[in-house]
Subunit: 187 residues, 2 copies
DNA sequence: CAGATCATGTAACCTGTTACATGATTTC
DNA sequence: GAAATCATGTAACAGGTTACATGATCTG
C-alpha cells in the first residue's frame, strides 16, 4: 500500500487536507508515484479508521469544509515500519518495449518513428526535471529549512534524471542498430 | 491493453495454447511485462470474441484438452495498428523511491541498509540478464532462424541491462551522499 | 466570459493478484 | 514420496482510472 505510506510521509511534515496532498504529489513525487483525488479521499478515511490519522474540520461558507488530517503516533510508527521492511525490486510494465520486441513485424520506418517520438518525450521530461523540479526542491528546502530532508528529495530526483538519460541513450543506440540491420542482412 | 497485444505478438510467430504463452512470457519478456495464467485464459477468450483469434481443440485423455489459438488477419491488423499508435511515456510506480524520499525520517543505518539490499537485488538481476537471458535470445534466433526479429529481442534486453546498471550506479552514489551528510551538517 | 483554483466525494469499470479446484505423469 | 510439468479454468479481492455531481471565487 505505497499510496497510504506516501500520504503518511507528507502528513509527517505537517497537517493537510486531501486537496493539499494531491498538490504535493503533483509538485514533488509525481514522477515515481501519483494518485487521483478520487483515490486519495477514500484512502484518508480508511487511514483514519486504522488510527493512523485524526481529522479536524475547518468550517467554510461557500465551499465544502476543509478536512485537515493530522498524523498520529501510530501513523508515524506505521510509516517507519514500512520504510524498514525489506523491499522487493518492483516489476516494470513497459508497453513500449512490447512494441519494440515485436518490431520485426513492423516496417522499419514505423518503428524508427516510434523510437524518435519516444526519445523526444523523454528529452522533454529530462528538461522538466532539470529546470522545474530541481528548482522546486531547492525552494522547498529554503522555505522549510529541511536541509537534511532535501538531500533525500534530491536523491530521488537524481534517479529521475538518470532514468530519462538512460532512455534517451538507449533510443539513440536502438535507432542506429535498426538503421544498420537491413544493410547487413543484404550482404 | 498491452497484455492482449503481447499475446497477439507471440501468436504471430506460431499457434499456441495459453500455457505455452505463459512460458513465453516467463522466458523472454517477463522483465518488462508478465501475466498469470488466471489472466491469460479469460483474455484469450475475449480476443476470440473480438475475432482476433480462432481456437482449435487438441483432444487429450488424461489432461484437459489443449486449446490451440491461431491469430487471424484481424488479429495481425490490430497488432500492427497498436504498434503504430503514438505511445505515451509510461508512468512509473516505484515504492522504493517513496521510502527514500521520506528517508530523512529514518535512522541513517536503516536507509543505508535498504539501499545496500536494493543494490544487491539489482546486481542479481543484471547477472541473470547477462547469463540467462542473452543466451535465451541467441538460442531462439538459432532455433527459429528469425535473425531480423532477434535484433529487436536484443534491443529490449539492452534496455533491461541499462536499467539495472542505472539502479546499481544510483545506489552507490546515494550511499556515498548519505554517508557524507551528517559529517557536513555537523561542521 | 472561459478556465483555473479551491474542496469534497460516489459509482462504475478495468486490470491484475491470490486463492481455490482438478488430476495424471515424470523427475529427483 | 515430494515437487515439477502439463493443462484448464472460476471467484473474490485490491488498486487505480474515468465519469458524474456540486458550486463559488479568482484570473486572464
Amino acid at each position: 500500500m505505497p499510496l497510504k505510506h506516501a500520504l503518511l510521509g507528507f502528513l509527517s511534515y505537517q497537517p493537510m487536507t486531501g486537496y493539499d496532498l494531491k498538490q504535493h504529489f503533483d509538485r514533488s513525487i509525481y514522477y515515481f508515484w501519483n494518485a487521483k483525488l478520487s483515490q486519495i479521499y477514500p484512502a484518508l478515511n480508511r487511514m483514519r479508521e486504522n488510527g493512523w490519522l485524526t481529522m479536524e474540520v475547518d468550517y467554510q461558507e461557500d465551499r465544502p469544509n476543509r478536512k485537515v488530517y493530522h498524523i498520529t503516533e501510530a501513523g508515524r510508527g506505521e510509516l517507519q515500519r514500512w520504510q524498514q521492511e525489506p523491499t522487493d525490486v518492483s516489476s516494470i510494465r513497459e508497453p513500449f518495449l512490447i512494441k519494440v520486441f515485436f518490431g520485426g513485424r513492423l516496417e522499419q520506418g514505423e518503428i524508427l518513428a516510434q523510437l524518435r517520438h519516444q526519445m523526444r518525450l523523454h528529452q522533454e521530461q529530462l528538461t522538466a526535471y532539470h529546470e522545474k523540479v530541481r528548482e522546486a526542491v531547492q525552494q522547498n528546502v529554503e522555505a522549510t529549512g529541511m536541509v537534511r530532508e532535501g538531500v533525500f528529495w534530491g536523491l530521488t530526483l537524481d534517479m529521475g534524471i538518470r532514468y530519462e538519460q538512460g532512455w534517451i541513450e538507449w533510443c539513440e543506440e536502438a535507432i542506429d542498430k535498426i538503421e544498420s540491420i537491413d544493410k547487413e542482412l543484404m550482404q
